[in-house]
Symmetry: none
Subunit: 411 residues, 2 copies
């Protein structure tokens, strides 16, 4: 069934409020085999009616958010009723509960509040636990002379919409929608370009009928998403696993640092970080994960050479000879941090984030990442010419993935 | 002029990625007197072409995001060219720069990458500083037999779209759009609730005819936004400055760390950080700012007590007596970091980020922030019960604002 979403609200178009309804509803309805095929956002005005008319003609399920409240710009209910030729009646029970709600809260009654008790003829009320405006469900073909999809009018505030959607809209949807036919698989891979991933899996996966394949690239990370019937997805999944295997760091929306903290906790291993060019990003990301305190023993942000010498025991002559951004200094930074913190592993970064500080031999974007553990220290040279924050993010992804592969024994 | 936005990407409809383009573009084009009147989101497929056809017919400016990359689901460019009847030509210069880009990064070339060098006849290339796919601008009526609005095809990743929009799309828009009638003022205030701010300025500002006043609250920070004709804004601005004065840390979209790095650089002063509960966030935020290397001498992320003792010289007895989360330990962490790094200032944080580790006397959300300089060390107790990342953010904001006021001599 074709489902669409209309978000109403001038504040959304002005950029003052970020919409969260699309992501919420999409994830809720996915297990029913339903997908939002189109989303529109319009302001509070006659355009809502025009858009509803277009959407009623082309969808079987229409979700509408916003415009159910008491103020003059709340016109969704009226416009939907008008379009479907349905009379609006004041619902006595709703009116009484609105009055009660305000009384409890000591809020003054205004005549405009009563608008929220108006219900289109034949509509089902969706109770609102966290606010005053109820939602409304208009069943398909509620007006036989017009014909119409299943329509859900939902309140704008997420904390009102979300419980209402789960408690009242989902049971209706379950009765309306056939059993799910479609599933979804998700893979995240670090430190590998989307072109390389597509080269490995694209043709093979797309050769399976019914599988939809998508990529989403972020700095140092690619999400691979496949949608289709279960049997086809199982074939596709086998291909992805054969080609990418342990390069996949998660199958849900975990971050690389979530995975690392879990892995290290399981193995009772610990980490120290010695950061020059990432400037605390490694430690910050690790400590965003609950339970990080049992994994991260210490983090040293050694921006100045003096700090590298003082804290990590880097020999000043080494810096003089090779420069602070060098394989040699990266190596001793990692080893010094590991020794100092008495940790299982230490990660070190040194590089040129820019925009200044580059040279011909070591241009902006040059970096070294070192990983020290008991058996050896590995150093890798990187080159990520980009803006400062992206550079830090890319180096951090590389460092974390280097550690993840080491902990898991992936070559 | 009627401007609309089309976001393409199945990942948006699936709820995997939150769209940020609407808010970004809406704010950028506002000073031109332009508003997004409708936004649509569709998946990667033929629906992009159908939607473009509808939007071309009803708008004078069309922004399209996503679908310009190298993979098989990137079809925006092709569909737009087809709809406008424009031939796609391979642009030799673009192709060369793509090859160069990959070569520099040591990435293998795939034939599919060349698709990004395809340019519709007559289109203007919008260079991409942070990625491979360029944006494209198709001027109004580029195909006189069809007629069409001004069309901007923009890349999906925000870090590619945003600088491109500012550097290449805005100058074109300025030449296309008439002079703005309406202006906008912007103020950012840290560590003060929006209700307190509204209490200070709300009534007075709204008494000025024609001024629209808005607030946007983020963890530890409130944006105040005023929109209106210049003369009214000048009156309003005088009120805001009289009431908030030096509590305003910026009038543009600078961050608190941007302001701090600039201030410290000007005064030739330096900083060290000793972080327990913020786990590297202070150092990470400071080092996101270009030029941070002349300000931040060292950052110590001392999660484990051993690290506090080893690096910062905290007396183990002090931890035993008062606990690691205490005014006393916060104070010596700051003093120890300042001494070790030989910096003008040191900021220290210690607290309980949760979800575990709280007690009746020191519940999750308790934190101490200490600021040490040559004359004295100030410690402040905070209580921010919230999720882990928000807690870290709130403590960091408090610490930075404490330092900003000290450096500026604000009481």
């Amino acid at each position: 069934m074709r489902a669409v979403l209309l978000n109403t609200g001038t504040e959304l178009l002005a950029g003052d409020v970020h919409d969260t309804h699309l992501a919420f509803i999409a994830r809720e309805i996915f297990p029913l085999g339903l997908r939002i095929e189109e989303r529109r956002t319009v302001g509070d005005g006659a355009v809502i009616g025009e858009t509803l008319k277009e959407l009623f003609a082309r969808a079987e399920i229409v979700f509408v958010t916003g415009g159910l409240g008491p103020t003059s710009d709340d016109i969704t209910r009226d416009l939907a009723a008008e379009l479907l030729g349905l009379r609006l009646d004041e619902n006595a029970e709703l009116l009484a509960s609105l009055r009660e709600r305000l009384k409890i809260r000591g809020i003054k009654w205004f005549p405009s509040i009563a608008r929220q008790a108006q219900v289109p003829a034949g509509a089902q009320i969706l109770p609102n636990e966290n606010g005053s405006a109820p939602g409304l469900y208009l069943k398909a073909n509620i007006n036989p002379t017009i014909g119409s999809p299943h329509i859900f009018l939902l309140p704008g505030p997420p904390r009102e919409l979300q419980p209402m959607f789960r408690k009242s809209a989902m049971p209706i949807l379950r009765s309306v929608v056939k059993a799910p036919q479609i599933e979804r698989r998700f893979y995240k891979i670090a430190v590998m370009g989307e072109s390389v991933i597509e080269e490995k899996i694209g043709k093979q996966v797309l050769a399976i009928p019914g599988v939809e394949l998508g990529y989403c690239a972020r700095p140092g990370e690619v999400d691979v998403r496949m949608i289709g019937p279960r049997s086809a997805l199982e074939q596709a999944d086998a291909i992805v696993r054969a080609e990418l295997g342990e390069l996949i760091f998660t199958n849900d929306d975990k971050t690389l640092e979530d995975v690392l903290v879990r892995l290290l906790t399981e193995k009772k291993q610990t980490l120290a970080t010695a950061e020059s060019c990432t400037g605390g990003l490694l430690a910050n990301r690790i400590t965003n994960v609950p339970g990080a305190s049992s994994v991260l023993l210490a983090g040293y942000v050694c921006y100045a050479n003096e700090a590298k010498i003082d804290i990590l025991g880097v020999d000043p002559k080494l810096i003089e000879q090779h420069g602070a951004v060098s394989e040699e200094v990266g190596r001793v930074m990692a080893e010094g941090a590991r020794k100092r913190a008495k940790s299982t592993y230490a990660l070190a970064t040194t590089g040129i984030a820019g925009p200044d500080g580059g040279s011909k031999e070591k241009p902006v974007g040059t970096a070294y990442v070192a990983l020290a553990h008991d058996a050896e220290t590995k150093v890798r040279k990187l080159f990520f010419p980009s803006d400062r924050e992206t550079f830090k993010q890319l180096v951090a992804q590389f460092a974390f993935e280097m550690l993840r592969r080491r902990v898991m024994g992936v070559p």
